[in-house]
């Protein structure tokens, strides 16, 4: 495979941001098929259109996911990308690596594939871009045997779970997002690799309401850390903030002169529940009104910490817009202990209750959020065996269209029209 002229792509080599074009060119020097990647992409830039064919069903034996088939629609021009399947390799929780591991993986990928990756895919996998069909099994063999690693998900199955870095390097994580993510990923290997669902299903785990893995926006089950006791206050540190000795928001705003720190304006007035106030130079919080939004803690990390009785909220149903419009996850369990001690029993039970039902009633290509919408939140709550509580809703219903079951209504639904007419002439 030879070099192609890439006058359009070449224009993406300047500028301060890292250039994928330069990187690809560099790789092409030792991996000439990458010239064809550049060539086909240049053609797309010229034609302003993709040059990949629709789909293509490929995979490795015994797996229903993990590989996304892809073929060029101009293979004669660019034989190096005729087959260009992606392989999704399950990433380690929160994406820490040893260079040893990474180098090995890269060696493997240069051997079997194009040498081009995404670190990482939007779901969190290591994405290896561009593999020929015949190289899939050999790659998989080496991946499992030589590295002890495995594919991630694709198709109508559980997708590779993802988490924020949590307790590993963040002071706010209210449960161990990594261990939870890892445990459930292993626990559900079968669900990840063998599609048995109506459509895709995603888990994401964030340690607190800042939600650094965007769980609430893009996972069918979103587990987000919170606490149920009081925010831990270090009043001495509060004073340091007030005195301007500690930078607000951990220094996040230090690039601009926003004036001296004003605890009233920057913390108390921005608390959404108005549950904070100063008493002299002490900061007071009416914790029972706090909704644990994290704002005050974010702004004064050295003075405030989440409470010590920690756990997570479990929300269900986020998804992108296809088809009925995007959804954020809905709060279903306000507080759940998420603990390795009992092997995440409560969470697992919750997940499986969702699945058992969704696998039965979910339509083809219907995300669980859409199924929830179709059957209604009330029915979903019943199916989950939960009590309806106001925490599940933002506001009570604004219409009067309540369904009543026959057994709730004195005397039931059956009435005799003749008896009625005897009392009410028509």
């Amino acid at each position: 495979m030879a070099k192609h002229e890439t006058p359009l792509l070449d224009q993406l080599e300047g500028g301060p941001w890292p250039s994928f074009v330069s990187d690809l060119k560099h790789q092409a020097e030792t991996k000439p098929e990458v010239y064809d990647i550049l060539g086909q992409l240049e053609l797309s830039y010229k034609d302003r259109i993709t040059h990949w064919k629709h789909g293509g069903i490929v995979g490795v034996f015994g797996y229903g996911g993990g590989i996304v088939g892809r073929y060029s629609d101009v293979p004669e021009q660019f034989p190096g990308v005729e087959h260009f399947h992606t392989i999704r390799v399950a990433q380690p929780a929160s994406k820490y690596y040893s260079t040893e591991n990474l180098r090995k993986l890269m060696d493997l990928w240069e051997k079997h594939g194009s040498g081009v990756t995404n670190m990482h895919g939007s779901t969190g996998d290591i994405i290896l871009l561009g593999c020929r069909t015949e190289a899939l099994e050999p790659f998989f063999w080496d991946l499992t045997h030589d590295m002890g690693q495995d594919l991630g998900g694709s198709g109508s199955n559980l997708r590779t779970p993802e988490c924020c870095l949590g307790q590993s390097r963040c002071e706010w994580a209210c449960y161990d997002t990594q261990e939870t993510c890892y445990h459930l990923t292993l626990h559900y290997q079968d669900e990840i690799h063998r599609p048995a669902f109506p459509y895709k299903f995603k888990f994401k785990f964030s340690g607190c309401a800042n939600d650094c893995v965007a769980a609430i926006a893009r996972s069918d089950i979103s587990v987000i850390g919170t606490w149920r006791d009081e925010i831990r206050i270090d009043q001495a540190a509060v004073k340091e903030y007030v005195a301007g000795n500690y930078p607000a928001n951990g220094g996040s705003h230090s690039g601009r002169d926003w004036g001296p720190f004003d605890i009233q304006k920057e913390v108390i007035d921005l608390c959404p529940t108005e549950c904070m106030w100063m008493e002299g130079d002490e900061l007071k919080i009416d914790d029972k009104e706090c909704t644990r939004c994290m704002h005050c803690i974010n702004v004064m990390p050295r003075a405030l910490r989440p409470g010590a009785d920690q756990g997570a909220s479990v929300l269900v149903g986020a998804k992108a817009p296809i088809l009925d419009g995007a959804q954020m996850s809905t709060l279903i369990v306000p507080f759940m202990k998420v603990e390795k001690e009992n092997e995440y029993e409560e969470l697992i039970e919750f997940i499986e209750t969702v699945w058992d039902w969704w696998m039965e009633v979910g339509k083809n290509r219907e995300r669980v959020g859409e199924t929830m919408q179709r059957i209604g939140l009330n029915n979903f709550i019943k199916i989950m065996g939960l009590e309806p509580i106001p925490q599940m809703i933002r506001i009570p219903r604004e219409n009067p269209y309540v369904f009543w079951a026959e057994e709730e209504v004195e005397g039931g639904f059956d009435r005799d029209i003749d008896e009625f007419r005897a009392r009410h002439a028509a």
Partner: protein, 375 residues
């Protein structure tokens, strides 16, 4: 050894899952997990976390193109080997984090990074713009309406100073998705760049019988625009479908279900800009992004209209918003009519919802501001 195509099932290993994360922790992380007390961003791209053990970890965050080669990953490894005892991580937004366990190890690391040209920009922390979460585009996907890596590169080139500084009112999360499938969190981003189609699918009658299940293709359309129809192929009448083009909203789901209904088009496709979404539950609830610019052309390779639009919005926001206020919180405070004015974006009917829950977006109050829109 290795895979033997003649005995594919022999010696097969499956369902290993990912490696255990802890084996990859730098020592300082391993020892202090769950013990962190507080953090501080020392300078753009450099974080310090303090543990209750007294330990400190210094993190240097580096932007990447996400699309990266094996060679590039090896270069990252070289850096991690030189400075970080062979450890590193990637963030949820495709930045690299190099961690060291002492302050004096930071500057050598920064110097090394700086010495490598534009490959390893340091930044992406605090009240700035971090990496753009994005998708495949023309590099790999079959349904894109725009490229991903190219637009991201040109937008980040233009916004570079906001990546390497912390001068904004709050963090600004930009995302790009190359089609309405929105792989990523475009639907909940401060600024979203979204590839959109604007031409209804063509129908490849010659191939439809072989590659599509017609009932699935018909059912795929949320607006019922795909109908059963007959077509003539090589003089023979076959069963196919037709599309009522006035009903099509270009969602692309029919093409996803049926390869014989391609949609992409050089002139039809382009970019829409959405703004004001957020994910965090901080202060206000998570918000969806809102469509404010319905279409910008795919002017390759530099997408100047898109770059300009994003920059204009970002700078109007930077100038006007209050400290801590996310883009969406700002727009809601000043009112969307004022948003359009301040960002100098012409308001079009395309920003008016007419989908399923549209009534909730209508203005059912007399409260409004007099802007230039009122003649």
């Amino acid at each position: 050894m290795g895979y033997n195509p003649d005995k594919p099932m022999e010696g097969r290993i499956t369902d290993l899952g990912p490696p255990h994360y802890a084996q990859f922790f730098p020592p300082v992380i391993k020892e202090n997990k769950g013990k962190w007390l507080w953090h501080e961003i020392l300078q753009p791209g450099v974080l310090m976390h303090k543990s209750e053990t007294g330990d400190e970890v210094y993190t240097v965050r580096v932007g990447t193109a996400r699309l990266m080669t094996c060679q590039f990953v090896r270069e990252i490894c070289d850096i991690a080997d030189a400075h970080c005892d062979g450890h590193l991580r990637f963030t949820t937004r495709n930045n690299i984090e190099f961690m060291v366990d002492a302050k004096d190890k930071v500057q050598p690391l920064l110097d090394d990074l700086a010495s490598r040209g534009n490959k390893f920009p340091v930044g992406g922390t605090g009240a700035g713009v971090t990496n753009i979460v994005h998708t495949q585009g023309w590099i790999h996907c079959h349904t894109p309406a725009t490229d991903a890596s190219g637009p991201v590169k040109v937008v980040m080139d233009e916004l570079f100073e906001y990546f390497t500084s912390m001068t904004l009112p709050a963090q600004v999360r930009i995302a790009l998705a190359c089609c309405l499938n929105m792989c990523g969190a475009v639907h909940a981003s401060d600024i979203a760049i979204l590839g959109i189609h604007r031409k209804p699918p063509m129908i490849d009658h010659k191939r439809i019988t072989g590659v599509c299940e017609l009932p699935l293709a018909i059912a795929s359309c949320p607006l019922g625009a795909v109908k059963p129809a007959k077509a003539m192929v090589d003089g023979e009448e076959i069963k196919s479908v037709s599309v009522t083009v006035e009903r099509c909203m270009f969602c692309g789901n029919c093409y996803t279900m049926c390869p014989a209904m391609p949609m992409a088009d050089p002139d039809g496709d382009g970019i829409a800009i959405l703004v004001g979404g957020k994910v965090s539950n901080t202060r206000s609830a998570p918000k969806f992004s809102k469509l404010v610019i319905p279409f910008l052309p795919n002017n390759t390779p530099l997408w100047p209209e898109t770059v300009e639009a994003v920059k204009k919005i970002l700078e109007a926001y930077a100038k006007d918003a209050k400290k801590y206020e996310r883009v969406g919180e700002w727009a809601e405070r000043i009112g969307w009519e004022r948003f359009f004015e301040k960002c100098d974006i012409p308001f079009t009917e395309k920003s008016i919802d007419d989908y399923r829950l549209a009534y909730n977006t209508w203005r059912t109050t007399t409260q409004f501001k007099f802007t230039s829109h009122i003649k």
